[in-house]
């Protein structure tokens, strides 16, 4: 057992957990943040993507204790109050989901992709960047559309302060 202290969605949390506890289990089972999904056991699907210190990471492939001291953002931490994050709004407007299982991971990765490409995004780049996020429903077209729309929205001056 180890004590793990993390900042999750801006809130400091600490729990005693087994060392083998994966970050995703910590989030879902210890904190009840079930928005982060587990879609595979081979580290390939990306449904579990969260941000650790601002970078996209597969929460199913890191130990919670390994991340001690880090700041974690999950899908629950994106919206501000009742206002959805532009990436969430774009997925809604562009029908970027069907069953929604992959969506939290897609949105967290989408935000990461936009941040890393301030120069703007074309569809080929978005598709390449989504290599680690699998969707079994949509065929990806609307996910790409949503990320592309959000990228434009996020680059407008009003959002740049974020």
């Amino acid at each position: 057992m180890s004590e793990v202290k993390l900042t999750v969605n801006g809130r400091e949390v600490s729990r005693d957990v087994e060392d083998r506890t994966l970050l995703v289990s910590f989030l879902r089972e210890e904190l009840g943040l079930t928005g982060t999904h587990v879609g595979c056991d081979t580290s390939q699907c990306g449904a579990c993507t969260v941000h650790v210190d601002g970078k996209a990471v597969k929460s199913c492939t890191v130990f919670a204790v390994q991340m001690d001291g880090a700041s974690v953002t999950t899908i629950e931490g994106l919206a501000s109050g009742a206002t959805l994050h532009p990436m969430q709004e774009a997925f809604r407007n562009n029908h970027g989901l069907q069953c929604g299982f992959c969506t939290p991971g897609m949105i967290m990765m989408g935000v990461d992709i936009v941040k890393r490409h301030p120069e703007g995004l074309d569809d080929t780049t978005i598709r390449k960047e989504l290599e680690g996020n699998i969707c079994r429903c949509t065929g990806y077209h609307n996910i790409v559309k949503a990320i592309s729309a959000a990228a434009k929205e996020m680059s407008t001056p009003a959002m740049a302060a974020e």
Partner: protein, 266 residues
């Protein structure tokens, strides 16, 4: 996953002492292979000792002839480093093809080289750029470091600290992916070192892991052009064969991709 104990090492001595004190310990880099394997219960170390915070494993330094990269450097850092891109663009380009963005944010160069997966990418760069693998016990030229599939010259309690690559006159990496796993089915790293020596290193295909193709290197000495290598065949007997591709198919890919890499290197 079976139970395990996690510890963060603060120095090389600390890491080695912790490993030696453990019943069946393993060093932990970014965990993108080890944790993935532990989840499947294909590995069950009693202890994992995180080496990524050890100062000796950090940093990127470039001098006139070499690029030296700390073993704990994550793939995304290699891919986005301006210094590496200026010195060896083929190496930063290669790093950008490893896995996906989230894997690249955790996985480390040391972890890849210690694991020596037959389909890993960095081993091809290490072989083609006459890399030296520095460890807590000494150093190895790449040709002596990789000893077979998932096999290296490392002892169980030996830590990779840094990797030094020769800056080539030119180089290129051609990656041909398995469409499902996205790992290399066959990939070829071609370089011309500053002493004029050509190098051709192949990953993803050899049944003994990464290897160099001497006949192609010889041919490129007198004629650095795709047609110098596309006619040279490697022996299918030395190739991997699985449901993704036969030995003959992979042998054919080696010649085709070597030609493309030479063309790309220009």
């Amino acid at each position: 996953m079976y139970a395990t104990n996690y510890a963060k090492a603060t120095s090389l001595e600390d890491a080695v002492a912790k490993l030696q004190a453990a019943e069946d310990g393993k060093f932990l880099g970014g965990g993108q292979t080890l944790i993935a394997t532990m989840k499947q219960r294909l590995a069950a170390p009693s202890d994992v000792i995180d080496v990524t915070k050890i100062p000796e494993l950090k940093g990127i330094t470039v001098d006139a002839d070499t690029v030296t990269i700390g073993a704990a450097t994550i793939h995304s850092e290699v891919a986005s480093s301006k210094e590496i891109a200026a010195a060896i663009p083929a190496l930063s380009g290669l790093a950008g093809t490893i896995g996906d963005p989230a894997v690249r944010n955790m996985g480390t160069m040391g972890g890849v080289l210690a694991n020596n997966d037959p389909a890993a990418d960095y081993p091809a760069a290490a072989m083609a750029l006459d890399a030296v693998i520095h460890t807590s016990k000494g150093s190895y030229p790449a040709t002596e470091y990789f000893t077979g599939m998932f096999e290296t010259a490392l002892d169980d309690d030996e830590i990779i600290t840094k990797i030094t690559y020769q800056i080539p006159l030119k180089a290129a990496y051609e990656k041909f992916r398995n469409p499902a796993s996205r790992y290399s089915l066959c990939s070829v790293f071609v370089a011309v070192l500053k002493n004029g020596e050509p190098r051709v290193a192949v990953t993803g295909s050899g049944n003994d892991g990464v290897f160099r193709v001497g006949a192609m290197e010889e041919a490129l000495k007198s004629n650095f052009a795709p047609e110098a290598v596309t006619g040279i065949a490697v022996d299918p007997e030395t190739m991997l064969a699985d449901i993704h591709g036969s030995a003959e198919y992979r042998a054919h890919l080696v010649s085709v991709l070597a030609g493309r890499a030479v063309a790309k290197a220009g």
